[in-house]
Symmetry: C2
Subunit: 400 residues, 2 copies
């Protein structure tokens, strides 16, 4: 159990006055990537590999679709769950990708993958509940549970011979009668780890038996190097299963700045999700949704080029890291991160800050992804080989 909210230390007193903010919110851990990246504010010679985004701007055909919609006057309030055209486009897209039937009534457009996660938590987590989270994992999902007054319960992946794997029994053992959800991000940020289909079946069966929701963050589904697409829970689930699948336009279509994603859910949850969207941000702008339609309908060559860019980035960075005696890493088979342990490093935040001061290369500290990541660093390789080689030249003296 989490400590009772009213026993947590609350924020500072306002002056004048006595008002304070929630203790749980005041005590939220900072996003540690920001503790490094703010060092680079206003420094033009930074090689920023700390965030999860490529060095490619959004392609022109996507921007043009947005502008065309704006100028056609599509600037009013719209359907809370998104344009039917975009929802149908995504249903067709996912049906093709996964070889399963997909009803557009299962799809709701959200203000980013993160927004889809927060909406899921709002629907599922009362104060005092808990959510099991497979870790290390990008930090925001864990703090999202705490915003709802719930407890994140981390279940660590195991690193065996350089390969990350999940002991599903440990995951199931971490759940109790107040567990309302399991959160799994596969392919995983930061590790590039992927669940296998038989593990997905096992976890889903457990959720069905125990009345636990599965929140599956699958935003890296298309960034996979050893097969056409990552295994999805949608391939092993029934339409009415307690499953919420989070997707995003950010990674494959270079739309990180746009804030658009989608949630796949049982049909009966559509109205609930619609209300929660109404009460948090209301709908994604129509012109951004038109950009999304263009991305999915005409973007396959771009997605292929993005994957090729990431593969080239991986094949540039990983061999150079492997050649350094202090560094341990295997080539990840998915996502666009090199997540590597550095021998002798026990404070990855301080080390990432030191690296930035000495080299202007921005890396994310492993501790940003939880205690399981301490001692490691994360490098986003969704960049040109030239830029990555320049970064590696600068990093080499620090990591050798």
């Amino acid at each position: 159990m989490s400590p009772r909210d009213d026993l947590l230390p609350r924020g500072p007193l306002t002056a004048p006055g006595l008002a304070r903010i929630r203790g749980r919110i005041w005590g939220l851990e900072k996003q540690l990537i920001g503790e490094v990246s703010r060092l680079g504010l206003g420094q033009p010679d930074t090689i920023a590999l700390w965030y999860g985004e490529s060095d490619q701007p959004t392609p022109a055909f996507i921007c043009d679709a947005a502008y065309k919609a704006m100028r056609a006057g599509e600037t009013f309030y719209t359907h809370k769950r998104g344009l039917p055209e975009l929802r149908q486009t995504l249903a067709t897209y996912m049906a093709g990708l996964y070889g399963v039937p997909m009803d557009m009534e299962r799809i709701t457009i959200t203000m980013s993958g993160m927004a889809a996660i927060m909406l899921s938590f709002q629907a599922l987590l009362d104060a005092g509940d808990n959510c099991a989270i497979v870790a290390p994992v990008w930090p925001n999902c864990s703090q999202g549970t705490e915003v709802m007054g719930a407890e994140p319960r981390r279940v660590a992946l195991e690193l065996e011979n350089g390969v990350w794997r999940l002991d599903t029994q440990r995951l199931m053992d971490a759940c109790d009668e107040r567990t309302r959800a399991i959160f799994v991000n596969s392919p995983g940020n930061p590790t590039g780890w992927m669940l296998a289909a038989d593990q997905q079946r096992e976890i889903l069966d457990f959720c069905r038996r125990r009345g636990i929701w599965l929140v599956a963050d699958e935003v890296y589904a298309r960034l996979v190097y050893d097969r056409p697409v990552a295994p999805s829970f949608l391939q092993v689930a029934e339409p009415d299963d307690p499953l919420l699948v989070v997707n995003s336009f950010s990674k494959s279509w270079a739309m990180t700045g746009w804030r658009i994603g989608w949630l796949t859910h049982p049909v009966w949850m559509g109205e609930t999700i619609s209300s929660l969207i109404e009460f948090s941000t209301a709908a994604v702008s129509v012109f951004t949704q038109r950009a999304g339609i263009a991305a999915v309908s005409e973007g396959e060559p771009f997605v292929a080029a993005m994957l090729a860019r990431c593969r080239a980035g991986r094949d540039t960075v990983v061999p150079r890291l492997q050649a350094m005696p202090r560094v341990a890493i295997n080539p990840p088979s998915a996502a666009f991160y090199a997540f590597f342990k550095v021998d002798g490093v026990d404070d990855s935040l301080a080390f990432a800050q030191e690296i930035f001061h000495k080299t202007n290369v921005g890396l994310a500290p492993g501790s940003a992804f939880g205690p399981e990541g301490e001692g490691s660093l994360r490098l986003c390789f969704a960049s040109s080989p030239e830029r990555l080689n320049r970064a590696m030249d600068l990093l080499e003296p620090m990591l050798r």
Copy 2:
């Protein structure tokens, strides 16, 4: 006190499985405006006056600023709290509007006014807390408290000789030791009611003494007919007061569909709000923020034209309503709504639906704004006099 969350009826069972959603979320009341407006989906001859938006699309100079930013490659992740340029632009704008000093460190850009409200509730409301809300009021703020597991505690405005007024003593009496916030929307939707400066001082003093936050929704600040700008809590407060002021680009700049607003808060809360944004949607897209800069910097003629349009709309609609014996209304001095009681109507939802079936004119039922609004209808008059007169011609037989 709200009922304990684990005693509330939860959502339906999933099939296969046992999983349910939160009872509090399953039990959330639907947005009743949508119960009328969905009747109009796909009906091109609808005269939709149900939503709070004008019939004007966003002006071209604002759209062009967004497109220019997109094509310049401003499509990446950005500052969680918003572009410093936009925050400074807004600080200067508010300092000029209200004649008070304003530090840009007090300003954070949000994904709409509603998002600013939800971020405020996330910062302030633990499960079991309550929030006093001056009503009738637009519905989403009340449901936002419930998403956080808190209790909305409504305090009704009084209608005296056709004029809405707040008994501040009743508001203060409604607060107890679990009251963490007071929510006031002034100028008010749907009533067009406005707080006077002396009442603002009284409420703020009470909040200081009792350690209660004031969440002030001031999105209609510029749509005022009897003075240059509505009184703002910012004019009576100190920078460190327990005050959160919600603003939006939606109403004055015809940007309802864009989803951009801002929150003014004590400087020390900046990092907390930044974290909450990170864990809900991340930042507003850079190109939308560039549109916001254009709106504030070059939009004063448009704001003046919007106000003139609303004034003409008010002066078209209100006299015609006043001429109907069953209708009671005074011209509102702010916002862009006619909110009028219709003699003999005790189910405003059914009546609004009947009106739509018979006339194709879309009005919002008063009950959408709480029990205080039952028996009334809301009409948004931010339209051309021609369109409004056509609507009034159709409505007249139903309201006479």
